[in-house]
């Protein structure tokens, strides 16, 4: 097990290397930051001076090496938009808001998908199944930002039940959470339904039925228990995707998280912040998938990692 974890962490290194290389190249072709910092009226001399001071006149591979050594020391550059604060700090400050939104979306997705999938599988091929299946595809088909705007229209404006922007008012997280969670709810419902149906076709369920167990007991005690593993895996993997998917949702609801930050940073060409967000989210994605794999083998001892 320990060997497996070490090997997985070692496998992350080339990927992280690739991500940093990708970000580095993107930043270098994104235009001259010096020109942007000094403005239009800067003389050629001033520009050359600042370029030399920032090390931008060196060959590309030298720049990459010094860039990597900065990153390894946790130095992601400074934000030109936020008074030269360290970019990493600017991003980390926004992380809790996005985590809160993603948590709410996850809660929404579980609360909807768990009963919906059980209902669909229990009444397979009948009307409840069709309704649940249609709604779950609809959840995936709707653009989340449109669903968000429609939620604002109905619950924020027409009914005035819930706040529609910002983070300060109580209940402010509900609508953005719904908007972000709807698509995941659809994915999870479809997945759990089909894995429930698969388990229901197995021999031990037929035995349970033959024993005369109540259908409800069979569903909850036998079928659900054996289906829940893949469901939990997808939840784990999607959590990281949720953090990134929050980009548009945060935009719609003016939610002060990483998504709102990264769009503002891009519009401002504040590339240090953009790179910190990309590298940080890559790390979160990889860590989550590692944790899911470890949990997976802890829950299901049949899975062996050599």
């Amino acid at each position: 097990m320990t060997n497996y974890i070490i090997r997985r962490i070692l496998q992350m290194i080339p990927v992280l290397f690739g991500v940093t290389l990708l970000v580095f190249l993107l930043l270098r072709v994104s235009g001259d930051p010096v020109q942007l910092m000094l403005g239009e009226d800067a003389t050629a001399e001033q520009v050359a001076q600042l370029r030399a001071a920032m090390g931008l006149d060196r060959p590309l591979h030298v720049q990459y090496i010094s860039y990597m050594s900065d990153l390894l020391r946790g130095d992601f550059g400074t934000s030109i938009r936020y008074n030269n604060q360290p970019a990493l700090q600017v991003v980390l400050e926004r992380l809790p808001a996005t985590a809160q939104l993603a948590g709410m979306a996850l809660l929404v997705a579980i609360v909807i998908s768990l009963p919906a999938a059980i209902i669909a599988a229990y009444w397979r091929g009948r009307i409840p199944d069709y309704i649940a299946s249609f709604l779950s595809v609809l959840g995936q088909a709707m653009p989340s930002f449109w669903f968000g705007i429609m939620l604002i229209l109905v619950f924020g404006i027409t009914l005035s039940w819930l706040p529609v922007s910002g983070q300060d008012q109580p209940g402010a997280v509900i609508l953005p959470g719904l908007a972000l969670g709807a698509s995941l709810a659809g994915v999870l419902t479809r997945l759990l339904r089909s894995s429930l149906l698969e388990v229901m076709n197995q021999d031990f369920i037929r035995t349970a039925r033959a024993k005369g167990l109540h259908p409800r007991t069979i569903i909850f005690r036998h079928v659900l228990r054996n289906s829940i593993l893949s469901y939990l895996t997808v939840i784990g993997l999607e959590t990281a995707a949720l953090m990134a998917g929050a980009v548009v949702t945060e935009q719609v609801f003016a939610w002060p998280g990483i998504g709102l930050l990264v769009i503002q940073a891009i519009n401002f060409r504040d590339m240090a912040v953009v790179q910190a967000v990309i590298i940080l989210s890559a790390i979160i994605v990889m860590m989550t998938s590692l944790i899911v794999d470890i949990l997976y083998s802890l829950i299901d001892p049949r899975i062996q990692h050599g």
Partner: protein, 293 residues
Amino acid sequence: MADIHILATGRASSRLADLRLSGVAIVCIGILTIFILMAIFAAFIAPYEPSLPDLRARLAPPMWNEGGTTAHILGTDHLGRDMLSRLVYGSRIALLVGFFGVIVASLIGTAIGLIAGFVGGAVDSVLMAVVNTLLAVPNTLLYITVLAVFGQSLTLLIIVIGCINWTTFARVVRGEVLSIKQREFIEASRAIGQRPIVTIIRHILPNVLGPIIVIATMNVAMLIILEATLSFLGLGVQPPTVTWGRMLADGRDYVATAWWLAALPGVMITLLTLSLIFLGDWLRDRLDTRSDQ
């Protein structure tokens, strides 16, 4: 006889002739056809020039609403532009990005997947490292950054999608190739001295076609949502070209007073993606070689 043929060559593509339509599939294909016709014949269908403002007719509601007129069946936007005409023209960009994005991505992904799976070894490791790198970065972030850096145009958008979105195709094709490689007919084709490229094109490619078609269908839906998202954020194809995402972004400011501005483009996107996802599901049931073994 036909069954024997399929068994003999292991060809998934010959199942295509065998597709029997279900009710859901007919409805989905019908909706898709309407959208495609709408995109092609937009100039004939749209009653007005889509970017022509008419300030006297600003924010006119749809005809069934109070104050609506038959002059603008679906109302007008904040500049008095006809909503119906704009929605019709918007289908062009959505479908272009969806279809061409998938074509470019599936060509790149299939080629890389075939090579990685067939050649194996160090080539496979390097290609899979590239795949894992692209999968580790949340794709929306990557699209936003790349488009912000390189600028926005339809061609560029399709190329960027091709360069980022191919990973799913590559992974699935590689997996299929690895399992097909073990089968007897590949060994046989090698034994009779066929060149690897011939083996790939004649024997492996037809077998991975089924999964590719299924993923491609689902992927078109995903790309249509992506295009709308990017346009919504101002990073898609720029005005005066009409995009549903941009319409939604404009309509967002008027959601309290003129709901149709934001609601209608979303209805169009959802209808289109909904029918693509259902179609993809139906194709999966029909083409997935594993599910009927």
